[in-house]
C-alpha cells in the first residue's frame, strides 16, 4: 500500500534534523519559494486533501477563505488529539516533528502567515519538548526565523500547551484557550479564516493534514490525487484499537475496505471472537454493525452507511460486549467534557448518563429507552457546538442498532423482580 506519512516512520532518529534531511526532508521549501504563494494554495486544492482532524473540510479551500489583505495572519496547528480512540497525531509528533514543521512552513508561505502556534494538549508535555527541540534545530538551520533560505519570507513557530479539556480541540475553543481564556466555543460566523486568533485571519489545521502538505509540494498534486477514491483523495492514518490482535496506527489508502484494516492489518478479532460492532471515526461518530465490515474506508462510503470517517479512529468491538456499557462509557466522557456553556448539552449528557447507568446496573425501566431517544432528539442540532451532537451519536446509534442489548438488561430486571 502506498504510504506518504508512515513509509519511514520507524527510521532511527527520524526526529532529528540530520536524519530527516537525509530522508529528503525540507526539500519542499526551495520548490515552494520558487513559486508564488497563491500557486501553493492551488496545488493543495488540486490535490484533493481534506482536513484529517474530524470534519474533512477541503484544505486548499480553507486556505483560500482567508480575509483578503488583512495582516498579520496566524496558523494554529491543532495537536490537541483527544477524540477517544485517536492516537495518530501523537505518533507523528513523537517520531517525525520536522515533517510537521515543514508542513507548517509551507502552509504559512502559501497563506502569507508569519506566526504559527502548535496547540498541544497539556498531557503531551513530553511531545512538546520534542517539538521544541525540533523548532530549535530548524531555527539554527535557517528554516525558521527571518528571510528563510534567502526567500525574504519570515516565520516564527511556537508551542503552546493546553491543560486538560477535550473541548479545546474544537477550533474556536482552541483559540479562546490560546488567548488565555476558558476553552468555550465561539459563535460562528465569523469563521477563524476571517476573525480567528487575536481577531485576525487564522488557519487551523490538524497535525496529520499539515504533514501531508510536503508530499504534495514535492511530488505535485496529481500524485496525491491519484491515491484514494473519487471524493477521498490520498491516504489516512487509522488508529485501530479495541478487540483486535494487533492494535496500532496504520496508514491506508482511502477506500480500503474496513475488513482489510481489521483482519489483515490489525490481525483480526482477539481470541478469534466474532466482530459485533465498529466505530469508524472516533467516539463522536455513530457505531455500525458487523455486517457492514466490507464498507470502503473513505468519507463518502462511511457517510452512505450513516456514519463518518471523523478523526480516523477505528474502534473494534467483539461479541462479548453488551453495547449499553459502551454507550455508558462514552456518555460519561461527554458529560465530563461538556463545557457547560449551553443547556441541552450540559443537562442532556447528565440525564443520558443517569438513565444509562441505571439500565446498566439492572435498574432500568422499559420506558428509559424512549426517554433516551427523546433526550437525543432534544439535543440533536440544538447545541451550541458540535460536541452536543457528538454526545448523541453513541447513544442513538446503539439504540437503533443494538436495541436487543438494552432489552436484555431491562428484561433481566423484570425477571428478577418477578421472582
Amino acid at each position: 500500500m502506498t504510504q506518504i506519512l508512515f513509509h519511514n516512520i520507524n527510521k532511527k532518529n527520524l526526529h532529528t534534523l540530520e536524519v530527516y534531511e537525509k530522508e529528503g526532508g525540507y526539500k519542499g521549501l526551495k520548490k515552494a519559494f520558487a513559486k508564488e504563494p497563491g500557486e501553493i494554495v492551488e496545488m493543495v486544492k488540486a490535490s484533493g486533501l481534506r482536513g484529517r482532524g474530524g470534519a474533512g473540510f477541503p484544505t486548499g479551500l480553507k486556505w483560500s477563505f482567508l480575509a483578503k489583505d488583512v495582516f498579520p495572519r496566524y496558523l494554529c496547528c491543532n495537536a490537541d488529539e483527544s477524540e477517544p480512540g485517536t492516537c495518530k497525531d501523537r505518533e507523528l509528533l513523537q517520531k517525525n516533528p520536522h515533517l510537521l514543521l515543514e508542513g507548517m512552513i509551507l502552509c504559512s508561505y502559501a497563506c502569507k502567515i508569519e506566526t504559527g502556534y502548535i496547540y498541544l494538549r497539556g498531557e503531551f508535555y513530553d511531545l512538546c519538548e520534542i517539538m521544541e527541540g525540533a523548532i530549535e534545530e530548524a531555527y539554527a538551520k535557517g528554516y525558521l526565523g527571518q528571510n528563510i533560505l534567502g526567500s525574504g519570507f519570515n516565520l516564527d513557530i511556537h508551542t503552546h500547551l493546553g491543560a486538560g479539556a477535550y473541548i479545546c480541540g474544537e477550533e474556536s475553543a482552541l483559540l479562546n484557550s490560546l488567548e488565555g481564556g476558558r476553552g468555550e466555543p465561539r459563535m460562528k460566523p465569523p469563521f477563524p479564516a476571517v476573525q480567528g486568533l487575536y481577531e485576525k485571519p487564522t488557519v487551523i489545521n490538524n497535525v496529520e493534514t499539515l504533514c501531508v502538505v510536503p508530499f504534495i509540494v514535492n511530488n505535485g498534486p496529481e500524485k496525491h490525487a491519484a491515491l484514494g477514491t473519487e471524493k477521498s483523495k490520498g491516504t489516512k492514518l487509522v488508529s485501530v484499537s479495541g478487540h483486535v490482535k494487533k492494535p496500532g496506527n496504520y496508514e491506508i489508502e482511502l477506500g480500503t475496505p474496513v475488513r482489510e484494516i481489521i483482519y489483515d492489518l490489525a490481525g483480526g478479532i482477539r481470541d478469534d471472537n466474532q466482530l459485533k460492532a465498529y466505530i469508524p471515526g472516533g467516539s463522536s461518530v455513530p457505531m455500525v454493525t458487523a455486517d457492514l465490515v466490507d464498507t470502503p474506508y473513505d468519507y463518502e462510503s462511511l457517510q452512505a452507511i450513516g456514519t463518518m470517517l471523523g478523526s480516523g479512529a477505528l474502534i473494534v468491538i467483539d461479541d462479548t460486549v453488551n453495547i449499553v456499557e459502551t454507550a455508558l462509557r462514552l456518555t460519561s466522557f461527554y458529560m465530563h467534557e461538556s463545557c457547560g456553556k449551553c443547556t441541552p448539552c450540559r443537562e442532556g449528557t447528565r440525564w443520558m448518563w443517569q438513565l444509562l447507568q441505571q439500565i446498566h446496573t439492572g435498574k432500568g425501566q422499559p420506558e428509559f429507552v424512549e426517554k433516551l431517544e427523546d433526550i437525543c432528539d432534544n439535543m440533536s442540532f440544538k447545541c451550541f457546538c458540535p460536541l452536543g451532537d457528538a454526545a448523541v451519536a453513541p447513544v442513538i446509534s446503539s439504540i437503533q442498532k443494538f436495541r436487543a442489548d438494552y432489552d436484555e438488561l431491562i428484561a433481566k430486571l423484570k425477571a428478577d423482580t418477578a421472582v
Partner: protein, 158 residues
C-alpha cells in the same frame, strides 16, 4: 507567599516572548502550568502573582484555572497517576487494572497516599488508545499494562 523558582523565571521570560506584547494574557495557561509543576497544585497566592504579572484580576485567573482539569486546588502526590478509563482502554480491561492499582496503593480512586508519594486519578482518553490499557505517571506514558507490569512500575519509583 508564593514565588516562582529560578528555572521557572527563566521559562517565563521565554514564554512571554511567544505572544504579542499586548496579548500577554495568552501566557496564562503556560504560567499556571509552571505553578502546577512547581507546587503540585495552584493556590490563590500563585493566582494573584500570575494576575499581577499579566495584568489580570485574581477572579479572572481563578475562573480560567477552574476550567482545566490539569490544575488542582489541593496538592497531588509526587507521582500523579492518570489512568485512562475511556473506550479503547475499557474494552481491553482497564477497570480491573485500575481497581488493582488502587488496592495496591491502598487508596481510593481520586486520592493520594498519606506519604504524598502517589495520587491516582481516573482519566479520559490520553491518545494512546492502541496501547491500552494505559496510564500516564507525571510525563511518562505506560502502555499495554498488566497487573504485573503495574506492580513493577510502581515498585521502581522512589
Amino acid at each position: 507567599m508564593f514565588a516562582f523558582s529560578k528555572e521557572a523565571e527563566e521559562k517565563i521570560e521565554k514564554i512571554l516572548k511567544k505572544y504579542p506584547e499586548e496579548r500577554k494574557r495568552s501566557a496564562l495557561l503556560p504560567l499556571l502550568t509552571l505553578v502546577q509543576r512547581q507546587e503540585r497544585h495552584v493556590n490563590p497566592d500563585a493566582m494573584r502573582e500570575i494576575g499581577r504579572r499579566l495584568d489580570l484580576s485574581p477572579a479572572y485567573v481563578q475562573s480560567v484555572c477552574s476550567f482545566y482539569t490539569m490544575y488542582s486546588s489541593k496538592p497531588v502526590g509526587k507521582y500523579l497517576i492518570l489512568f485512562c478509563v475511556n473506550i479503547s482502554c475499557q474494552l481491553n480491561g482497564c477497570d480491573v487494572l485500575l481497581a488493582h492499582t488502587a488496592k495496591k496503593l491502598n487508596i481510593e480512586i481520586g486520592g493520594t497516599t498519606n506519604d504524598m508519594k502517589f495520587s491516582l486519578h481516573r482519566e479520559e482518553c490520553l491518545a494512546a488508545c492502541s496501547g491500552g490499557p494505559m496510564m500516564r505517571i507525571n510525563d511518562t506514558f505506560y502502555e499495554n499494562l498488566t497487573a504485573a507490569k503495574i506492580d513493577q512500575i510502581l515498585d521502581s519509583l522512589d
